[in-house]
Amino acid sequence: MQKSAMINNEIIRKRLAKRYAKERRFRLYGVASITISIAFLLTLLVNISLNGLPAFQQTYINLEVNLDEDILGVTSSSNDKEFLQGNYSKAIKSSLKTLFPNVKGRKNNKALKQLVSSSATYQIRDFVMDNPNMIGTTQSFWFLAKDDIDVFIKGGIDRSLPETDRRIKDLQLIWIDQLLFDQRLEKRFNFTFFTQSDSREPEQAGIKGAVVGSLLVMLVTMLLSFPIGVLAAVYLEEFAPQNNKWVDMIEININNLAAVPSIVFGLLGLAVFIGLFGVPRSVPLVGGLVLTLMTLPTIIITTRAALKAVPYSIREAALALGASRVQMAFHHVVPAAMPGILTGTIIGMAQALGETAPLLMIGMVAFVANVPQGIADPSTVLPVQIYLWSDSPERAFIERTYAAIMVLIGFLVMMNFIAVIMRRIFEKKF
């Protein structure tokens, strides 16, 4: 008797030890998988930041420019058309020439002119047009440095390499060294990156157009998908007849739609909105319409889940006190489900914000240098801008690509943060 109990004890102890070991192992697996995901995330973020941070600084060159009538070819009484045709690059050339008088030869002179970005010409033109009375004086300007100079100053080009292997030649090194010595070369915060739109010159390129485009697309998407999605969900959950095969079929289809690859929505948008309704290509309106199709299933599904989570007693109480079904739904059930609805909507919008594939089909993968003024202007969006820059040959675009990724991630984090706050504000305990 005692012996058998002892054997039993032994077995139980062994089993217990095994179970404890199993539990410890499971915890270990959990910790390990979390560590691995955090490590991946950190590598990604650190890699992006390291590559992108240099883009927030930009090299500027200081030049004294003589705004002489004879050089510019305009006078203070010129009209706008004459101003547009003025020879401003000549003024820059002569200003550089006074700094480096010994430069000879066409090729070297061209290289000298390319110390400063091509935007310098327009900077002078705009200054002269705004201040015609300054013609004839000498003004000090800070110009954007050309992308190669900028990359060199940030340490992207190794000066110990043989000259043929460098984008910056020996002569340019001498000029840069002198400019640095004269304190005419300076790294400053890169405002251009936030105030300008896309450009083919890296030093002039910015994300403003893409950010505005993204916001316009999001606006259209939200104004359409939120009301449609919520109303559809409320109807399906609160008003639609139960156990009806039509309702079941719609439900299955909505669930399937949520899993459809996004490029399919792009093709649909191309055929329907552009082909059938004649909406112009590449505008935020058509982008928003396509992304609405994509986010609708997400919003409907999450809204229905949120409505389902509202206790049935609330509905019964409202109905018992004489509320109509619409009153019951919109005065009691929907407000109670609001945190879930908003979370779902924001997550759907965040998904739409990062989308490029469907936009490819409707022409939003495009070079757009103007900031869109409305939903009918051509525009692009942030992820598309990232894609376009990553595909550009100029090396200075690499850091800008990463910087744009940082901005996009910033927006996504912000949206998720808003979702958390919304949930806190609207949360109700039953």
């Binding site: 259209v220 309704f277 070079f367 240098a369 990553s390 040959p393």
Partner: protein
């Protein structure tokens, strides 16, 4: 809560109004709409930007759709919703021209803008490759001719020195663009077909096809032509040719990581990364600006854009845009397009194209 319902209704209304107002707006367009080749994209965008800044008008919108996709959109009709200009990294095909005519796009102005070189390059840490088009074909074709005439065998070459004992004793490993890319088409046509043609019996397939066509045997001609194309344009799929995606920057990064590999990409990427990668010598010619411009470098192709004449005057600025593109400042020997890697046309050809472009002389194409 009633306010919420009102708000929803208001939102609906405003979107409806926006939709109506934009469809009214689409009747006129204040910016030039450009589509087409991803190879021409970097050049067209610089011109567009300069045009916008110089004239203070709206900068043209440029979509990168690929040459074929651009033609399809361009030829889809005359309406103001269709693009005004399409870029192409090859000449318009007769079939595309025909389709344009059928859809009412009667007058098309062709503008040849310059050349683009395709570089075959490797890492600077390895010695320069000295290749011929024939050895490139033998290294990358799916099937290669064996000793006997007319017999093809699956590509047996593993190392470069299997093809030619002077080449290095390393595995054949070439990173290049996928079949959807225009660069790949051009590479197949210029480099592979160029090497393929050095085998007499393969070259004869095409001459025979032409003879058959003249004799009226269309089916026979097409069969031979297809066989010729199949032999010359098929790329091996056993891992020696690695599809590295459309992103040329990625190929450059992979070459740096793997000094034994060769990569295929646009010349402008070679120029920008001259500290990391070096171009191979093809048929005795080292790839550089002058070699492509003089036409001695064999793997280069002409670039074009096409203008819909009926839109000139309807969409503002098309003439000014053509003028900017064909100005010496842009496409000339010292122009800003050469800084971006475009190889200019000869002076004579430039003048000829400039004249026909600015006079908007419509293109005439006869069947192939």
């Amino acid at each position: 809560m009633k306010n919420k319902v009102k708000y929803v209704a208001a939102a609906f209304g405003s979107v409806a109004i926006m939709t109506v107002s934009t469809s009214a707006m689409s009747v006129v367009r204040s910016y030039i709409d450009v589509v087409g080749s991803s190879t021409v994209y970097p050049f067209a965008t610089v011109v567009a930007e300069t045009y916008g800044k110089k004239t203070r008008r709206k900068t043209p919108k440029i979509e990168s759709t690929g040459s074929g996709g651009g033609m399809k959109l361009f030829c889809s009709g005359r309406g103001i919703n269709t693009p005004d200009i399409t870029n192409a990294s090859r000449r318009i095909k007769y079939s595309e021209f025909k389709k344009c005519q059928k859809n009412g796009v009667k007058d098309i102005v062709e503008v040849k803008i310059g050349y683009d070189g395709i570089a075959i390059a490797n890492s600077k840490q390895a010695p320069v490759f000295d290749l011929t088009r024939r050895s490139l074909f033998l290294a990358l074709a799916k099937q290669v001719p064996s000793g006997n005439k007319g017999v093809l065998i699956d590509n047996p070459y593993l190392n470069w020195n299997d093809i030619n004992s002077k080449l290095p004793n390393t595995r054949i490993e070439v990173l290049g663009p996928p079949p959807t890319s225009g660069t790949r088409d051009a590479f197949a046509e210029l480099a592979l077909e160029g090497g393929c043609k050095t085998f007499d019996w393969i070259k004869q397939l095409r001459t025979k096809a032409k003879q058959l066509k003249k004799a009226g045997d269309k089916i026979g001609a097409a069969r031979l032509k297809n066989r010729y194309k199949n032999i010359c344009h098929s790329v091996r799929e056993d891992g020696a040719y690695i599809e590295a995606g459309e992103n040329d920057n990625l190929i450059v990064a992979k070459l740096v990581a793997n000094p034994k590999a060769l990569g295929i990409f646009g010349f402008s990427f070679l120029e920008q990364n001259s500290d990391k990668v070096q171009g191979a010598i093809i048929d005795g010619v080292k790839v550089n600006f002058d070699a492509i411009s003089y036409g001695s470098y064999p793997v280069s192709r002409p670039l074009y854009f096409y203008v819909k004449k009926s839109h000139v005057g309807k969409v503002p600025g098309i003439k000014a845009f053509i003028a900017e593109f064909t100005s010496e400042d842009a496409w000339g020997k010292e122009g800003y397009l050469t800084d971006k890697g475009l190889i200019p046309l000869s002076d004579k050809e430039r003048y000829k194209v400039w004249k026909s472009a600015n006079n908007l002389t419509p293109l005439e194409l006869k069947s192939e």
